[in-house]
């Protein structure tokens, strides 16, 4: 490797340190107007009437829009097109957009918002899953499956009840993971304008320009070929800019109507309402174990709090179950899930999408199993690891797995064996692992087209321009793109110009989500560069009078492997190739391999590869205050191959930071107002000051270890690194606290008051545990039954082929409440 694996300044590094990176709100266009949104002050209400006359006549106001202007709904998933750019009649959370004012400046627009009069009919607030189950009415959405249950899922891979009945031990635990939000420091912004031909361009802080492009065309009813979406570099995404946003539709509509550029930038409070963050999930996990510590089966039930709209929720809910099988061998597995609607900002994908919650439960439960069986928690994990190149019970194909080495490394580096159960009271260590996708196997909307495309353009000056729809959100997607092209062509990454995230000029890439960019864009980039390399080699070989296969591309030169004096500069060789073949360009594309699962629901979970991480957390707990200090974290990540170690380490440490912050303090929570004021449910903390996150003073030292076990499905073997390393952190913190003071905190965040309460319980001789104590009765349907590969299955369902079926009595409730 000439470029890959060597620490380097990222290709866009200079722009980022000079303030030149152009974020969406940095765009200023001539004649630009400004937009603000009127948002619902009620968590659940019907709109009887909106009077916009006074706002329209306010000096400086150019346009006022309401739900009437947007007849077409949208939603990121084809099955949940349940949002309108502006709510026409029903608002479902505090912050749901109702109207928009476009004015000469933000100040004027804000003044005019106050002049809009809305007559609401207040509806009962559904505040949490318990209330959603108990109150099928009033319905938050008419299309939900059963009352306010948005979606029910149930799958069984082998007879789990039988497996548990035959197991020497069965562990049953309840866990709760509170919701939290992405908190990117950049607030979402969008600018819309018409070009000289009257076609629409939208610049936006989005991770998914392709999906925004499709939605804009549909919602605004304009041809998709007349819409261009440019994803500006994001000032942090973390999944928070993965959804199609109301304000993107509305600002685009305003530009279309006015023929002038219009900008909107959300304020911080609005970013909290936009949300689409981590779903709060209640979990019940029953796991069978042999006396030797081998897992025999698991039955996982999840109850997922979705908030007011679908967003990615159907996929998020699948993800609370899909990846339980890719880390430890589970011969049989059953998974029931329900997502409910509540009157809160919609939840969606945040770093780890749906998998941190069950991972938290699974890794704490393993700690409990290890203790009961008298095994070392690290050894227990090693004993149960999934084998490389195997199928799981739910038909996921695992390729390489570097997790054994990850565990071995963190155990050794942290001096685990001399610390676990051996540190003085108040200090402890905890271990946990994680696994994540390297790109979702299927696109969000069904199609057989490539999921990533790359185009390359070369000219006689030696200039290399690479075009790709992938989106730079800080993770270094441009750097990965440049590095891979540079590696193939033997040039310096700084010689390459990246044009990315622009649906008007770049080939489609589905976006920066599901950790898909390195693998999918990377493979497409190899495909395109290899095609051009072959042409250049042929032309250069002709000039040098050698065989093309004997040429080496390195250091900006093309030379004979055995005799480097026979050589051409890259630019000279490109010139000869241009002479021989005409203008030089190539395209490459990537479509993931077809997954082996054939049952309905098998589309969530498959990936070209899985990344693995292991983490040891050291924690100190003050028994008088419950205060938790984390002095050090060791983390090893199975990255396949490192493209740029500087960036890879940054992704790992950033994941550790975010995971630790979630573990100790982050929570998106709500409170009811005093009943005499209102029945409303309001956001408790929509500000950066009150929503606690770790600062530089709280951040412990992190020791990062990258394990390289190249995966054949990945470009040069490189797996993802942006999400996986977050997963083991939260349970490792919980396990470390148990080792330190002997209390189990089975819910997140783990705050000092919870620790203190558990210590009091311990002192009273009671069960020293804080966490959920009951799981409500959820009408999970009959499962789709699929036999695991080792029980004669072929990947098809043997029962419940179409989808999980509700029993007749359940259907009755459903129809009576419709």
């Amino acid at each position: 490797m000439k470029v890959l694996g060597k620490p380097r300044r990222r290709v866009d590094g200079r722009a980022k340190v000079t303030g030149q990176t152009r974020f969406a709100d940095d765009i200023v266009l001539p004649r630009m107007l400004h937009m603000k949104l009127l948002r619902s002050p009620h968590p659940h209400a019907l709109i009887r009437k909106i009077d916009i006359e006074k706002a329209k006549s306010h000096p400086g106001v150019h346009l006022v829009l309401t739900g009437k202007d947007f007849p077409v709904s949208f939603g990121i998933l084809p099955v949940t097109q349940d949002e309108y750019p502006l709510a026409p009649e029903h608002v479902r959370y505090v912050g749901d957009p109702i109207a928009a004012v476009v004015a000469r400046d933000e100040q004027t627009a804000t003044e005019a918002l106050d002049l809009i009069e809305v007559d609401f009919e207040i509806l009962k607030t559904i505040s949490d899953p318990q209330e959603a189950l108990q109150n099928p009415e009033p319905r938050i959405h008419a299309y939900s499956e059963l009352g306010n249950i948005h979606r029910l899922q149930a799958f069984e891979f082998g007879d789990v009840d039988e497996a548990l009945a035959k197991s020497e031990h069965v562990f049953e635990d309840l866990f709760f993971y509170e919701g939290n939000t992405h908190l990117p420091i950049e607030q979402h912004a969008s600018v819309a304008a018409l070009d000289g031909e009257g076609k629409l361009t939208l610049w936006s802080s989005t991770q998914v320009p392709h999906y925004v492009h499709r939605s804009l065309a549909r919602v605004l009813q304009v041809p998709a070929s007349h819409v261009r979406v440019v994803a500006c570099p994001n000032g942090g995404g973390f999944g928070g800019k993965c959804d199609v946003c109301n304000h993107e539709m509305v600002v685009a509509k305003a530009a279309l109507l006015l023929g002038r550029p219009v900008k909107i930038c959300l304020n911080r409070e609005e970013v909290f309402y936009m949300h689409r963050g981590r779903h709060p999930v209640l979990m019940k996990m029953r796991t069978g174990v042999t006396k030797e510590g081998k897992l025999t089966g698991m039955h996982l039930q999840t109850l997922v709090d979705g908030g007011g709209y679908g967003s990615y929720g159907v996929a998020s809910t699948f993800y609370t179950g899909a990846l339980q099988t890719v880390t430890y061998e589970l011969p049989r597995y059953k998974f029931d899930a329900a997502r409910v609607f509540t009157n809160k900002p919609p939840c969606g994908p945040k770093r780890g999408h749906g998998t941190p919650q069950p991972r938290f439960g699974q890794e704490i439960q393993l700690d409990k199993i290890a203790e009961k069986l008298g095994l070392d928690p690290a050894e227990l994990r090693l004993k149960n690891l999934v084998k490389a190149n195997s199928l799981t019970a739910n038909w996921l194909k695992v390729g390489t797995i570097g997790l054994a080495e990850c565990i071995t490394q963190v155990v050794e580096k942290s001096d685990w064996k001399n610390k676990h159960k051996k540190l003085p009271d108040g200090r402890g260590v905890g271990i946990a692992c994680g696994a994540y996708l390297c790109g979702a196997g299927l696109p969000i909307y069904w199609n057989k087209m490539p999921q990533s495309g790359v185009q390359l353009l070369l000219d006689r000056s030696g200039q290399v321009t690479v075009f790709c729809g992938a989106t730079e959100i800080g993770q270094g997607s441009d750097d990965v793109l440049a590095a891979i092209v540079a590696e193939v062509l033997g040039i310096d990454p700084f010689e390459i110009r990246c044009v990315t995230g622009d649906t008007g000029t770049t080939p489609v890439d589905l976006g920066s989500y599901s950790s898909r960019v390195t693998v999918m864009m990377g493979n497409a980039a190899i495909d395109a560069s290899q095609k051009l390399k072959n042409l250049i080699a042929e032309a250069a070989a002709e000039q040098l009078e050698v065989i093309p296969d004997h040429l080496e591309f390195s250091g900006g030169r093309i030379f004979l492997k055995d005799d480097p004096s026979k050589s051409l500069s890259f630019a000279e060789a490109v010139g000869f190739a241009e002479e021989k073949f005409g203008t030089l360009g190539a395209v490459g594309s990537y479509t993931p391999p077809r997954a082996p699962g054939r049952f309905k629901g098998a589309g969530v979970g498959p990936s070209p590869a899985y990344s693995y991480s292991a983490c040891v957390v050291q924690a100190e707990v003050d028994p008088r205050t419950g205060w938790i200090t984390v002095p050090k974290i060791w983390i090893a990540h199975d990255i396949g191959r490192t493209i740029n170690p500087v960036l890879a380490r940054g992704q790992v440490e950033g994941s550790v930071y975010m995971g630790l912050s979630e573990a100790l303090m982050e929570e998106q929570i709500f409170r009811r107002l005093p009943p005499k004021l209102s029945s409303a449910l309001v956001h408790k903390i929509p500000s950066l000051l009150e929503y606690k996150s770790l600062t530089s003073l709280d951040m412990p030292e992190v020791e990062t270890i990258l394990i390289e076990d190249p995966d054949p499905n990945c470009p040069f073997g490189a797996k993802e690194v942006g999400q996986g390393p977050l997963l083991p952190v939260m349970p490792a913190v919980a396990n470390a606290i148990y080792d330190a003071v002997g209390v189990r905190i089975d819910e997140l965040p783990i705050t000092p008051d919870k620790v203190l309460k558990a210590l009091h319980l311990k002192a009273q001789g009671k069960e020293a545990r804080i966490g959920p104590t009951s799981f409500p009765s959820v009408p999970y349907p009959e499962p789709v039954v699929v036999l695991p590969p080792w029980e004669g299955g072929d990947g098809n369902a043997v029962k419940g082929f179409d989808k999980p079926r509700l029993s007749p009595s359940q259907r009755k409730v459903s129809s009576s409440s419709a």
Binding site: R9, A15, K16, L183, G235, R268, L688, S696, M699
Partner: protein
Amino acid sequence: MRRNVHHNLTVNGEALEVSFAPYKTLLEVLREDLALTGTKHGCELGECGACAVLIDGEPQLSCLVLAVECEGRAVETVEGMGKGAALHPLQAAFADLGAAQCGYCTPGILLTAKALLEKENAPSRERIKEAISGNLCRCTGYQQIFEAIEEASRRMNPQRQEDR
């Protein structure tokens, strides 16, 4: 009708005449009236540190300062950090060592760190942590930022390098 005020500001060593609405914060005037969009905003309430600039050499949150208060004071933004096209050692170290991921909190942290390094040649890790504790970063986990500030202080003070 709101009337603009007319002020002389010194930004990045340049004397500027600028006309703006008197209620505007320094952040707004920098970004909207002077096209210095390198200064970012994350809350406009003094919570995140993204908008930090130097006023007379001290780090200040430009979202909490009215522009009318800045007449006669030296304002420095990220655009003024380098010498011409050459990067300031802090900028170079941030770019080289991964201290800027998305780059959004970066200008505020760079200026806060510059003020620190102008007061202290070789601040300890603890001093660095304290100095930037008002600047939130959601990407890096801070470690590469600490390292970049330390590296810049070594590059700026060869003395320190010999000490180590």
